[in-house]
Symmetry: C2
DNA sequence: TATTGTTATACTCTATAACTATA
DNA sequence: TATAGTTATAGAGTATAACAATA
């Protein structure tokens, strides 16, 4: 089945026959797949009143395990965003009562972000739905193909560092 | 080699052993790979004074072939963005003299976006550099692996429609 | 001096709504 | 009525800079 990338590649072959545009077949489809997936995940998040950045913070807190407390600087490193961006994500979540900021007993400069009961409840409810969405997205691939895909993506990410 | 996704999956296994988080291995790596690639492509674009949306418009015009003219509504469909977003991309490019808007002789309502000489020159110079970057990103995979990766991504995108 | 964290501010890209003009 | 295109406006998320406080 020809997709949009096939048509784009065909155009390039006609217009620039001397160029090797084969990398576009991979990178183009990577970016389109990421866009399509992002949009499906966003729909699931929205059903629970969340967006991707908020889900990311709550999920990071949950998977860190009891007592569900993390320093903002650690959240910034995990998400690869600035500490300022973290502060702004936290403002949003804290105003909804999903997290709260506490003093860090081990570091007078620091803060600990804690999951509230409401936050815990929301992420526990959202997570299975999210996993179901992710499962549906990749169900078109066999388990072996999924493993190969994950490995290829890992190698691409590593080689881009 | 354990990457960040391996550590995240391990955390989930400990905290939520009853959940099947295996889809995250694929989707998580997809989103990280897309982010890493996007950032490398952006660096190449920046070296030529461009960003991804601007490159997208100029490349679309170039691969459309002579006379390098496209209606805005077609640009919107190709890029899957609103016609308003297209108008704003065009404002930016036109103010730099890289494209110009002409009347559409076949449709009195319409406009044709034309590559200027400067725009043509810029995209012709940027394109080989861009392809080199893309080639470097996927060079870690064999040609066969690249083909498999592209196919897997295509299937994921299709199944998300 | 370096690190943690916050706010103020600005930037980028986008979509929605409102509008003009032509098919 | 529908389509093409634009601007005004607002929204989301981010980073940089400036700042306060502690290590």
């Amino acid at each position: 089945m020809a997709d949009q990338l096939d048509r784009i590649l065909q155009q390039w072959h006609v217009e620039k026959p001397e160029l090797d545009v084969s990398p576009m077949a991979v990178i183009g489809r990577l970016s389109r797949a990421a866009m399509a997936v992002e949009s499906r995940l966003a729909a699931t998040f929205a059903r629970h009143g969340l967006d991707a950045p908020s889900f990311d913070v709550l999920a990071t807190l949950l998977r860190s395990g009891a007592p569900y407390r993390i320093a903002p600087v650690k959240l910034a490193r995990e998400a690869m965003i600035s500490t300022s961006a973290v502060a702004q994500r936290l403002n949003k979540l804290e105003s909804r009562g999903l997290v709260k900021r506490e003093a860090n007993p081990g570091d007078g400069r620091g803060t600990l972000v804690a999951l509230t009961d409401a936050g815990r409840e929301l992420i526990e409810t959202t997570l299975p739905d999210h996993l179901e969405t992710e499962h549906a997205i990749i169900a078109t691939l066999s388990v072996e193909e999924q493993a190969n895909l994950a490995m290829f993506l890992q190698r691409i990410t590593e080689s881009s560092r």
